[in-house]
Symmetry: C2
Subunit: 429 residues, 2 copies
């Protein structure tokens, strides 16, 4: 049986998931590949740390022990961050090794460079674990849906924000209260910025849309807005409108270019994504032949992410067996323009507090009419102190139109407050 040696960069959450799956399921994995796949050596920071690890796995704190070891066939990069991961992956590929990475930050920023190095060296660079570990969406887009032109892709691809929004929805709790509890439970990080501001989802969306549309999309192309402004009142109004509020990662391939955006949005309760709750992720994909599809699973965690890494290892092992490594099919042969946010077309939910006087509503209506926007729904509730709270839901319009209406609103003397403006995703379903 051919021996395939893995060099593991990092033994944290992902790395330890990989070693434990390779050990536990070794019989099936070896039978399925016809190869004996083992982690030979792992790079760690602290050699002295006690670890629950098979004695067969050598440890080293020198990366050259892995990158320069001619016996190592596949390097698994499970460190995260841009550097030194980028340099290590490039060195590994240049040294003739195949690479599996779980690193979304790196791919969303430097994907093109890395794939070019892989191609130059005729080596595999696999990355299923970089987006939603428990969902094999990369393989689906690269292989199973290749007969299609993908028109849109909508994902719930950040577990932290989905957990927070689900909890606010289920229990009617405040954002800050739920965030604090999520941090205590370990579902949110001590510095949760990357998750709650939508940057983590934006990185994943850059990777997914690059594959789905065969055009290069980087993190800088993705518009992103976080969930910190979403209040329990907004969630209640959304419920009255038969919607839920989710942090959506949306990519659309349209005639005038590619639209890539991450933001909270009202989503109709009958949409397949509306029931994706807690730490679960899902990606809804529409192709011209296949129609609507959805892929659902855990977005993160040691074993789900490890499952993606090990399945990539198995695929590379099969490629090694058939002498077909290095056939990258992640080509960005299209070169679509990226749309400006002013040209995004969505519905909007706008919640305002105004003076409860005659003519006030007529004025509001006029501001939107002047911007060419019409309404899909209106909710008005009396508030104390001669104030009224009004929720306006628009039909889809361009963001530039919405900005015009909001500017008029802001200069209106009877306006007390704009609580929130949240997009609503209705068209295209």
């Amino acid at each position: 049986m051919r021996k395939i040696n893995i060099g593991l960069l990092g033994l944290g959450t992902v790395g330890s998931g990989v070693t434990s799956i390779l050990q536990k399921n070794s019989f099936d994995i070896n039978t399925r590949t016809g190869a004996d796949i083992k982690v030979k050596r792992a790079l760690v920071q602290d050699l002295a740390k006690t670890r629950d690890l098979s004695k067969d796995i050598l440890l080293s704190d020198k990366v050259s022990d892995i990158l320069d070891d001619p016996e190592i066939d596949i390097v698994v990069e499970a460190m995260g961050g841009i550097e030194p991961a980028r340099t290590y992956i490039i060195t590994a590929l240049n040294n003739g090794k195949n690479v599996v990475t779980a690193n979304k930050d790196l791919l969303a920023a430097h994907g093109q460079e890395l794939f070019e190095v892989a191609q130059k060296n005729k080596r595999d660079l696999y990355y299923e674990a970089s987006v939603a570990g428990g969902i094999p969406i990369i393989a689906a887009l690269r292989q199973s849906l290749t007969a299609n032109r993908i028109s849109s892709l909508i994902g719930i691809i950040n577990g932290t924000t989905n957990y927070i929004l689900s909890d606010m929805t289920d229990k009617g709790r405040d954002y800050n209260e739920v965030l604090r509890e999520s941090q205590e439970l370990g579902y949110a990080e001590a510095d949760p910025t990357s998750d709650i501001e939508g940057l983590d989802a934006a990185r994943k969306l850059a990777i997914l849309s690059t594959i789905a549309f065969n055009t290069r999309v980087t993190i800088d192309d993705v518009f992103s807005e976080g969930i910190s402004k979403v209040s329990k009142e907004d969630i209640k109004y959304a419920d009255e409108l038969n919607c839920v509020i989710k942090l959506l990662a949306i990519a659309k391939n349209q005639e005038d270019g590619i639209e890539v955006r991450v933001h909270p949005a009202l989503l109709p309760k009958n949409h397949p994504l509306a029931t994706v709750n807690g730490v679960y992720n899902a990606i809804y994909v529409v192709g011209d032949a296949v129609g609507e599809t959805m892929f659902y699973g855990k977005g993160a965690g040691s074993l789900p992410t490890g499952s993606a890494v090990v399945s990539d290892i198995i695929q590379i092992a099969r490629n090694l067996e058939s002498k077909s490594v290095g056939l990258s099919d992640c080509d960005s042969y299209r070169n679509y323009p990226i749309k400006s946010s002013d040209d995004f077309t969505t519905g909007y939910y706008i919640r305002v507090k105004v003076k409860d006087e005659p003519r006030v509503f007529a004025s509001l209506a006029l501001f939107f009419a002047e911007a060419g926007i019409s309404f899909a729904s209106i909710i008005q509730k009396p508030r104390s102190n001669e104030k009224a709270e009004i929720v306006l839901v628009t039909h889809p319009c361009k963001e530039s139109q919405l900005k015009q209406a909001v500017a008029s609103l802001n200069s209106y003397s009877k306006l007390d407050k704009i609580y929130n403006v949240i997009r609503m995703e209705t068209n295209g379903f």
Copy 2:
């Protein structure tokens, strides 16, 4: 650019989907494969029939024009049925062609034989379209989830029965009324036996469980029961129990063997499969590393099934390019026993009409207690003529225990009628 010629056996629903996708998306498909992929010739029954087809595609009513043409690289079998499809596929493989098939009937009965012929000839035999065309579940099980030991797989994989049950649920209508309408609308066939009796789902389940568990499962191994006994009253009671009724295809890998069964079942409304309605299919898969996943999409139709066939063609084209065809990884290296239905463990919903007299309920309770079965829920409603209608929901028990309790019930003098006994899928979630 390398030319890859397709020979198409059949130009019905699936075949015409394949030709239209290959034409419409030729630029992307050719760029993704680096090959010029074209249907060279199609086998049809009636050469005189008018068809909306590219003039480049030759037609023939002699199968040898395809199977013996040395220019044809890939044969797509889109005829259905056992013979002559089986003979044609074997001849194609023996003649050195790769094969893509959408034929579940054939694979569920003769899969092993066909894979052996493919392996002997070192050719690819792909079959994504044979189960739930719009859902890339075969690739997921063969590649993306290979790091896992799959413990269970639950599918809604028959569109006709799901449409009927969804409509009965949404509109409170009768089974016969909905079936008749489905036939008029073309959602159910004139002879709907294969769908409504669960045979179609059983065939697909045989294919899926063979791949998921790496053990040979054929149609004869699958227990199946149809939906014709499910009434609108059962659906209403299920709703009271916070469940929906679905035709489920269930495969479990357990210590004492493989459990493969298709039957209607009560499913809790919070299960990811519970909201899969109408003609949509979904397959829920639990792996030891990945945890819970679900794959959702259209189960049938010209373009969704065509999407699966063309994606298989693209994969074979890539294999031809990298000289790696014929590396079948669909090995049944396990040889698990198939469990008898007596050993299936599920909950049960039992709806009976009894005399409304003292002690009757105590007797009912005793029959189940004597079989070692306890109750999860009980609903009792008064009926006219001194009769009572009782719904008993049991905790999970073996089918042999249930049979004992039902035998006691049947010989009970105060029993008026057993309306229905339906399984309930609660354990394992």
